[in-house]
Structure formats: structure tokens, C-alpha cells
Symmetry: C2
Subunit: 257 residues, 2 copies
């Protein structure tokens, strides 16, 4: 039996530690190709590059096919599928992000967006993130990844939801298990530092931290805090069915000019 | 009674025709402030600027308070709320985008993302887009905007869904009405043009067009094609409830290391 093709990407750049570990584990299950940004692209969300040329470089590496893209994580998936791969990959893996992607800040995440782009073209996908610590410690992360990637290669793995996987930093010592969770409402609480440049122009630096407002153990961020690996199934069909049902019959929408 | 504060933004830049018309109509209902990108930021999605300083300029204009931000549409909303406004606006309006934001390509849209950022902080929001034509013709668009903005200032207007409003280019002659719609599955069908620079480095330009695969009149893109203004209520709570219900009891998630 031929080995499945697995596309590996991220938003921290092709040379990050996280993508190296993800690719090492994925290589146990299939033929991998890395197509990832040339540098840190955190916060790029589902952005695409429309008005600039997108540079592509093949990285010199004897053991692994790696392409570096001067663009966003979503650009990487699109260019891989449209121009680099001979066949459709069986699975697209994104990460391992250096830092959590939980709560509302998921919307800003390039790691998750590479995965949502994948399911939009019908390819199953997982986004992996490891909780930040002073020195990112990836000990034991491979054990979690092995279990999840093996499962994702099963025929019944969904291609219409993204598995958003977040791993607590305690994984280097122990974890309490894996939890299927909901996206929480916790948000990134920004502080904008206002400064002046030498020519007296105003500019800002953004800073801040996740504001924890959740308590239920089935919420992504709370599961992590309690030492669980969190898996949130995300759908990108955005229509609010509830709003449609409650408002469909309102006269307002029958307006004729 | 004091007039409500309305924040106006977009992704085409503060000097675009679309935002001027949107702001003109909004001014009939409240005190407006424009905080918008300094240039075209289409395709920036929900991106935020994490690793660069974000420049801010007050634009010299006697009749209207305008700030220009060297950042994404979401940066504009965040900086306005965090640093520029004395009080929370009653409503945040985004657009009018020069071109539709329908189907799956909503995910790439800076116009829609400024609106989704707004509901994440609990402020009602509408994203407006006008179908592209060779010369963007905004005739009669103000009539539609007036009706929708007036409605959005009602106390019962939702602050947990975005109204994604798309207006057909036929509005300059006639429209057939307003339809409450669903987000379609039509996607942007990209073509990547591969080129070489003078130093033999590979780069790509992206090009393409919306691929229409929908037929039901209650789908955003089909409503537009049939001469209706399309209003899709969008929610950004991404958890797939369906997946949770179907998989919650699976042993897989009880894994103990």
C-alpha cells in the first residue's frame, strides 16, 4: 500500500521547532512535504496576499522536501494545492504553534486558518498548539501527536470540521487526559502602548494577555488549565441558524424599493 | 436626546468612495468617527499587527473626524475602542466594500472581520459590500443604507451576529427587494501565475474568480445574482455542536497517558 501524502504547514515559519516535531511524527505515517511561511506570521488569521507577489524558495535539505513561502499560512496551503503537489494530500497538519489558540483569539490564528482553508477544499485537517512557556518544552508532545494523527488517517475522520488541538505545557511531566471541548469566550485583552517617533508621529505597540472568564471543564482554555489536551471541533459555516429561524418571517425583509 | 456615536471603518482605506458614502448616511443618524486603514487592506481577514508598530495619523478635515491607521481593519476597531474613543460606540459600520463578500470568501474579508471584531466586544455591527462593476456606481446605495442603519439603531438589534450585507450592482437601476440569506459554499477559484524574477527566483501572483455552485435563492450569492440585497446573519461561535453531540461519548477522548 502506498503511503499517504501529508502536507505540513504552520504560522511560525518553516524553520521553527514546532513544525520540525510535527513533521517528524507525521513522517511515521506518510510522505510529508512542508510548505510554510519564510518567517513568523502569527496573527495573520485567514489573510491572503492579493496585491504583492508571493515568493517561493525550495529549502536545501537532503532528508525532507521543504518549501518556504513569502506569504501567509493560507497562501501556503493554496500554493501547495494549486501549484506544488501532484496529488491531493490525504491530510493537512498545521503547527505546532508556539502558544495556545483558544477562545475568541482563534479568529486571529494563522495556525487554525491554515486548517480551516484545508477543510474548505475538503481535506481533513488538524491545528496543533502548545501552551507557551519560557523555554518551549516539547517533551512527550510526540506521544499525543502520534495518537491524534493516526486517528486522523482513518477513513471516517471528518473533512468538514477542524480539530483545534491545544496541548498544556504540563505535557512534559504529565497530562490528565484528552478532552473534547467547546471554544470559550475568553478574549485577548489588549493594551495599546502609545508612543511618538523622532518626527513626532504617533504609533502603537500592542501587548496584552488572555483574559480568563470561563470555568467549565468542557471549555478549551479551562481544560488546558486543568492539565488536559483540548480538542475543539470547529466549523466555518458561519450562518446563524438561530437568527434565521427567529427572523425569517419578519416583514422587514420583504422590503420592496 | 444625545446622538449615538457610530464608528465607521472599512478595508479599502479611509479615502475610498465606499466609506465616504457609508459615513454620509451614518451622519444622518449619529455622530460618526472614521478610523480606517491608510491604504487598501483587502484580504487581510481577521489579521492583527503583532510585531510591527501601528502608525496613526489624524487626517486634516474640517467636517469629519478621521483617523488613518497603518494596520488591518481589525487593528482599526481595536485601537478605536482602546485608545481613541471616550465612550463605547452604539454601532460599528464597515464598508462599503468595493466588491462582494459572499460564500466562503467571507473568511478572507477585512470588511467582515472588522464587523466580527465588533460583536466580539459586544457592539452591534454591519458589514456592507457592493458588487464590483467597471466603474463602481453607488447610485441609490444610500437608500438601502438608510433603511438598514436606522433599523440597526433599534434597541433590539442583535450584538451577537454580524449582518453581512451585500448589494447587487443593479441597485443603480432597480433591486427586487431584501432577502435574509445563508452563507453559500461558493469559493474563490484561484489561479496562481508562476513567474521568475531577474535573479531567477520563483514568485506567484494570485488571480481568479468566484466559482458559482449554488442555486437556491436563499443563498447570499444567488440572491445577489437575482437582484436582491442579501443580508446574512453571521455568528463567530465556531464550535461544531453537531460534532460534539455525535462524538462526546466516544472512548477515544477518555485517553489517559
Amino acid at each position: 500500500m502506498s503511503r499517504p501524502l501529508i502536507l505540513v504547514t504552520n504560522d511560525d515559519g518553516y524553520s521553527s521547532k514546532g513544525i520540525e516535531i510535527l513533521n517528524n511524527v507525521a513522517s511515521n505515517f506518510g510522505d510529508t512535504i512542508i510548505v510554510a511561511p519564510n518567517s513568523e506570521k502569527s496573527g495573520k488569521a485567514h489573510g491572503i496576499t492579493l496585491y504583492d507577489p508571493i515568493g517561493l524558495k525550495k529549502i536545501d535539505n537532503q532528508n525532507q522536501l521543504i518549501y518556504s513561502v513569502d506569504g501567509t499560512p493560507v497562501d501556503c496551503v493554496k500554493i501547495a494545492i494549486n501549484s506544488l503537489l501532484d496529488k491531493k494530500p490525504k491530510l493537512i497538519l498545521s503547527g505546532i504553534n508556539h502558544g495556545l489558540n483558544v477562545g475568541r483569539s482563534i479568529l486571529y490564528s494563522g495556525t487554525v486558518s491554515a486548517a480551516s482553508e484545508s477543510i474548505m477544499i475538503g481535506i481533513p485537517s488538524i491545528a496543533f498548539s502548545l501552551q507557551k512557556s519560557e523555554e518551549m518544552d516539547f517533551t512527550n508532545v510526540d506521544i499525543i501527536l502520534e495518537k491524534l494523527i493516526k486517528n486522523a488517517l482513518d477513513e471516517d475522520f471528518p473533512n468538514d470540521v477542524v480539530w483545534n488541538v491545544n496541548i498544556p505545557k504540563t505535557v512534559n511531566e504529565k497530562i490528565n487526559g484528552i478532552k473534547l471541548t467547546k471554544q470559550g469566550k475568553s478574549n485577548f485583552n489588549e493594551i495599546y502602548h502609545k508612543r511618538k517617533d523622532p518626527r513626532n508621529n504617533t504609533y502603537f505597540w500592542v501587548d496584552g494577555a488572555i483574559e480568563s472568564i470561563e470555568e467549565d471543564l468542557d471549555v478549551d482554555e479551562v481544560a488546558i488549565r486543568n492539565g488536559y489536551v483540548s480538542i475543539t471541533p470547529l466549523s466555518f459555516e458561519l450562518t446563524s441558524q438561530k437568527y434565521l429561524e427567529n427572523n425569517q418571517s419578519k416583514g422587514f425583509f420583504d422590503f420592496e424599493k
